[in-house]
């Protein structure tokens, strides 16, 4: 599986930051960017992104855009109840990650989907 390798530099150099501090990174984001709190050791760094990291989904609203954790069995998701990619051992069907597939479909380990 691909892994998120795009590193977004923390601290104040990020492109999406509106206000920031060297210690906590972004404190607020420019419009249309997603605010995400990344944990680095004991610290939390604010990061402004155009899309939430794997395992999180973005919710846009007029006031702010937030990242929220997907369900535990999802690697990535569209919203709280709709997965787009499953964790190992789970198989995707119509947005659900399950350990088995509905009748008539079989498990594909490479795609982690019911096919």
């Amino acid at each position: 599986p691909h892994k998120q390798i795009s590193g977004v530099s923390s601290g104040c150099q990020q492109g999406g930051c509106l206000t920031c501090s060297d210690y906590n990174g972004c404190l607020s984001c420019k419009p249309r960017f997603f605010m995400h709190l990344e944990r680095i050791g004991m610290k939390q760094i604010g990061v402004c992104m155009t899309s939430c990291p794997p395992g999180f989904y973005g919710t846009r609203s007029p006031e702010r855009n937030t990242c929220t954790k997907c369900r535990s069995e999802c690697d990535s998701c569209f919203n709280k109840n709709f997965c787009t990619r499953c964790r190992a051992g789970f198989y995707l069907h119509l947005g659900k990650c399950q350990e088995s597939c509905p009748e008539g479909l079989v498990r594909s380990d490479t795609q982690r989907e019911c096919v």
Binding site: H2, T50, L94
Partner: protein, 516 residues
């Protein structure tokens, strides 16, 4: 296994990953060129690149054939580039592309020509652009498309024609646009759609058949719009589980409103000027866990909740409801929180069947008495708020079962005396605002009390041991009233109000200490 199948993967004869100086690449074929100030797609990347992140650069245009050397590319990220033009042939050759991220750019229309031939595309992000038009043929070739983001753009209508052939689409967001109206059959062919977000638009009206065809829809989000009439079109959604239409202008919920949506789990309807709710609206919703109705000011009848028997939280406040069905707990055995505050309830039935109740609020009703069996059997109840009623009488055994009760609010009633049997776990008791309650309260049955508010300061002396103001005889009385226990233990009470003091000593002179 997956890596070995894909040419260029680790161990396929390439010791160091071929990479561009502007990027960092891993041995799996992933290339991260994000946030490097690039104005064009960098040269020197491996032909076997399968994941390319070019987000957060300054690439404002994509020329023709710019990705022709990446036949194995599966994920292409171009978000946050001020991209305003994509040549029709820019994405040619990307036959294996599954994920295309174009959000946070300056596109004014869907680049339909460029999207042609992306036969493997499953996820397409076009959110946070300035799209006003979606050409009819925009997604024609994208037969594998499952997830489409068009939120945060300038659409004024649902792009019906462009969605007409999307039988495999499963998740669609059109949120944060300027859509005013949803016509009938707007999503007719989207038979695989599971999630539809339409929140934060300007939707004022929807056709009664606008959701026809959405036979698999489970989540519908209509929050933050201008709907004035209940969206009856949901009748076409037999698999609906999550429904949101909070923050609209809906005035009433009709009878049988959700009769065609038996699988509903959550309904968010707060922040609507509801004045009427049909009594049968919430019947037969056996998967509903929580129901919150506030401020339906004209509502008079308690909703019929037969077969809505998995409800765990019921909030029904700010109505004209004056009675509670006596068989309420026959259906709501799993209820844990019950908030019926700010209604006009006079009599309470027995809640004996609601064994799991933990929190009850009847604040601000017209309740006059509490019977012996009203709260019988509620051994899990922790919080009971009966404040702001007209309670005159509480049966002496009314609290016998409430062995877990920690917070009891009886303030602002008409009580003269309260029973304390069964309140061994009580830590907070509120009795202020009961002017007829003048007797000296005893701490005997309230060993865990930490905070109490009482009608008169002198009543605090039984709890906080007023050293300065108490004479030896009163000391004796205090011990007696505290059951002979050590006064210091009683003074473990952290807070009693109104606290006695120089002008409010503990003596109770002539029945009215206000005389001093």
């Amino acid at each position: 296994l997956w890596c070995l199948l894909r040419p260029g993967a680790a161990g396929q004869g390439q010791s160091a990953a071929v990479c561009s100086p502007s990027c960092s690449c891993d041995e799996d074929g992933g290339a991260d060129c994000s946030g490097r100030g690039l104005t064009a797609v960098p040269a020197g990347l491996s032909t076997f690149t399968y994941y390319l992140d070019l987000s957060m650069n300054n690439i404002t245009e994509l020329p023709a054939y710019v990705f022709k050397n990446f036949p194995y590319l599966e994920e292409l990220r171009l978000a946050g580039n001020d991209l305003s033009f994509i040549h029709p042939e820019a994405l040619s050759g990307l036959h294996q592309l599954k994920v295309l991220m174009l959000q946070n750019n300056q596109l004014k229309t869907v680049p339909s020509a460029a999207l042609k031939n992306l036969h493997s595309l499953q996820s397409l992000r076009l959110d946070a652009n300035h799209i006003t038009a979606v050409p009819d043929d925009s997604f024609e070739d994208l037969q594998q498309l499952r997830h489409l983001w068009l939120d945060d753009n300038n659409l004024t209508e649902v792009p019906i024609s462009s969605l007409r052939h999307q039988a495999n689409l499963q998740a669609l967001t059109l949120a944060l646009n300027r859509i005013l109206y949803i016509p009938d059959n707007a999503f007719a062919n989207l038979t695989s759609l599971v999630v539809l977000h339409l929140h934060n638009n300007r939707i004022k009206e929807i056709g009664d058949n606008c959701f026809a065809g959405l036979v698999n829809l489970e989540t519908l989000d209509l929050n933050f719009n201008n709907l004035m009439v209940f969206p009856r079109a949901i009748e076409a959604l037999p698999k609906l589980k999550e429904l949101g239409f909070h923050s609209n202008d809906i005035g009433s919920i009709p009878e049988g409103a959700f009769h065609n949506n038996p699988l509903l789990r959550t309904i968010h309807l707060y922040d609507n000027p509801l004045s009427f709710v049909g009594a049968s609206a919430f019947q037969n919703l056996s998967d509903l866990h929580s129901l919150m109705l506030r401020g339906a000011s004209m509502m008079q009848d308690f909703p019929i909740l037969t077969w809505t028997n998995n409800l765990e939280s019921l909030t029904l406040s700010g109505t004209k409801i004056s009675s509670i069905p006596s068989d309420l707990c026959e259906d709501l055995k799993l209820l844990r929180t019950l908030d019926l505050s700010y209604n006009q309830i006079e009599l309470l039935p027995s809640f004996h069947g609601c064994m799991r109740l933990q929190e009850i609020s009847f604040q601000h009703n017209r309740i006059q008495q509490i019977d012996r069996d009203t709260f019988h059997g509620l051994s899990a109840l922790r919080l009971l708020d009966l404040s702001r009623n007209e309670v005159r009488l509480i049966h002496r055994d009314a609290f016998l079962s409430l062995t877990a009760l920690t917070n009891l609010d009886l303030s602002l009633n008409s009580l003269t005396v309260i029973p304390t049997s069964g309140l061994g776990s009580l830590s907070q008791l509120k009795l202020s605002g009961n002017p007829q309650m003048k007797n000296v309260l005893t701490a005997k049955n309230l060993p865990k009390l930490r905070s109490i508010s009482v009608p008169y300061a002198y009543q605090c002396c039984a709890f906080v041991g007023c050293d300065s103001a108490t004479s030896p005889s009163e000391e004796h009385d205090l011990k007696k009233s505290a059951g002979g226990e050590d006064v210091d233990r009683v003074s473990m009470i952290m807070h009693c109000s109104p606290s006695p003091g120089a002008f409010k000593p503990c003596e109770h002179l002539l029945g009215n200490w206000m005389i001093r």
